[in-house]
């Protein structure tokens, strides 16, 4: 068995070495580069008014995008699973997934073409004193767009899995629609929703491409954290760029922890189902 052992260690070494070179090593450099000149510059970067306003804008976008997409995601998943369209279900599937596969820059362009100065709604909006592009609403819209699919895609499989038995039982016992939703459906899909919310938050915090196109990049006004990283790097303020990156990376690590907590396979609801459950049906 010596040869199988060598090949096992060989494979392990290759996989871990690759992960180290492409993932672990670069990420550890954020820490090193942020603190390369000691603590004081890091503190300065963190108290810079432009950093603070970027942080506030990012949090605002997250605070709007996450609830909107959670509500939309649950409704959309219920619509897709419980009342599936007779034809062209795959088109709907593709449309829900589109923000995942589409370049964020194209998302930004699409928003400009619709809401920009010469866009479809743009002229009407400008006449009524609402500026979307190069302003906060545009950033929020872009964030909502790119984070649209996550809750839907996590809830759909869970909803398929739980089936309609319990809901039907609730109806026959005289529960109203809203009672059934709050007492039966929502508790059943809660882990899927939680996982979707985590993914949505991660993407909303880190979105760069779509936001870069629509923001106009006015420092202190329409600059998010990711744009602040870029802008600081381009004016050779490395410490500010890496410090902001460190903040974003810390948030990403928190997201990872949450992801591992809510990962669909590890939640007890699904694991405790008897293995033959699916086959019996």
């Amino acid at each position: 068995m010596r040869s199988s052992r060598t090949s096992r260690y060989g494979l392990r070494f290759a996989a871990l070495g690759y992960l180290f070179l492409i993932l672990a090593f670069p990420c550890s450099m954020i820490l090193y580069n942020a603190f390369q000149d000691g603590l004081a510059p890091v503190w300065d970067a963190l108290t810079d008014p432009f950093f603070v306003s970027a942080l506030e804008l990012t949090l605002l976008a997250v605070a709007i995008a996450v609830p909107v997409n959670t509500i939309f995601g649950i409704l959309c998943a219920i619509a897709v699973v419980r009342h599936p369209p007779r034809h062209g279900g795959w088109i709907l599937n593709a449309a829900i997934g589109l923000p995942l596969a589409l370049s964020p820059v194209v998302v930004g362009l699409a928003l400009i073409l619709v809401y920009g100065q010469d866009g479809w709604f743009g002229t009407w909006l400008v006449e009524n004193g609402v500026q979307v592009i190069f302003s906060t609403p545009g950033i929020v819209l872009a964030t909502i767009f790119v984070t649209l699919p996550f809750v839907v895609r996590e809830v759909i499989p869970v909803l398929r899995e739980v089936g309609t038995d319990q809901e039907e039982a609730a109806w026959t016992l005289g529960a109203t629609r809203s009672q059934t939703f709050w007492r039966i459906t929502l508790p059943a899909i809660r882990w899927g929703v939680a996982y979707g919310i985590v993914l949505t938050t991660a993407r909303a915090l880190g979105e760069y491409g779509a936001v870069a196109v629509v923001s106009g990049r006015i420092a202190g006004e329409t600059e998010t954290l990711t744009l602040h990283v870029d802008e600081a790097y381009l004016r050779f303020d490395e410490v500010a760029a890496y410090t902001t990156s460190l903040v974003l990376a810390a948030l990403a690590v928190l997201t990872l922890l949450a992801m591992n907590l809510f990962r669909p396979k590890e939640n007890p609801d699904v694991d405790s189902r008897p293995a033959g459950d699916e086959a019996l049906r």
Binding site: L16, I30, A101, L205, S245
Partner: protein, 212 residues
Amino acid sequence: MAALKLTFAVSFLVVLVNAVTGTLIAWVLVRDDFRGKSAVNAIIDLPFALPTIVAGLTLLAVYGPKSPIGVNVAYTRTAIALALLFVTLPFVVRAVQPVLLELDREMEEAASSLGARPLTTFRRIIVPNLMPAILSGAALSFGKAVGEFGSVVLISGNIPFDTEVASVNIFKSIESDDPEAAAAVSVVLLVFAFVVLAGADILERRSRRHDA
């Protein structure tokens, strides 16, 4: 268009590398056992959680002009490939892992008891079983790689006709107030995104049908 050609060529290479390394990593995570495995399993998702601009910056720190290991590939096509490898890392791993977990070991044992060598077992038994998962992971990687912007924009240098990818090209067109040019390239990416999604959808359905 030079930018589109470059984007698709580099992305295709990246997807090939990903199909191999992703399967390898999934294999090691499922079949091997070592200390810290759960930590390794957790960091696989890091490229997904980490903002792309931060990913670009970190790669620039390691493989750029100030590289601590003396490797400077900044502003070359290698750098683009590196950035794309980083951001697409989780897709194949996460697609293959669950399939590998559920793969029946009896088939492999039967093959080896019938005298098949490990390599033959791998080629004839394991790879065919994993193929749908590898392909759907690869399709998603391809979609992501072709549209990638944030991680590429800092490290590629964006030299027209050399290291300028499609999304950067669109971005520059928008900045220089040329929405028609931007829209033209965008349409290609949009159509491609739909193709990728439809392809991944079909693959997923097919593998689900095999389960039933």
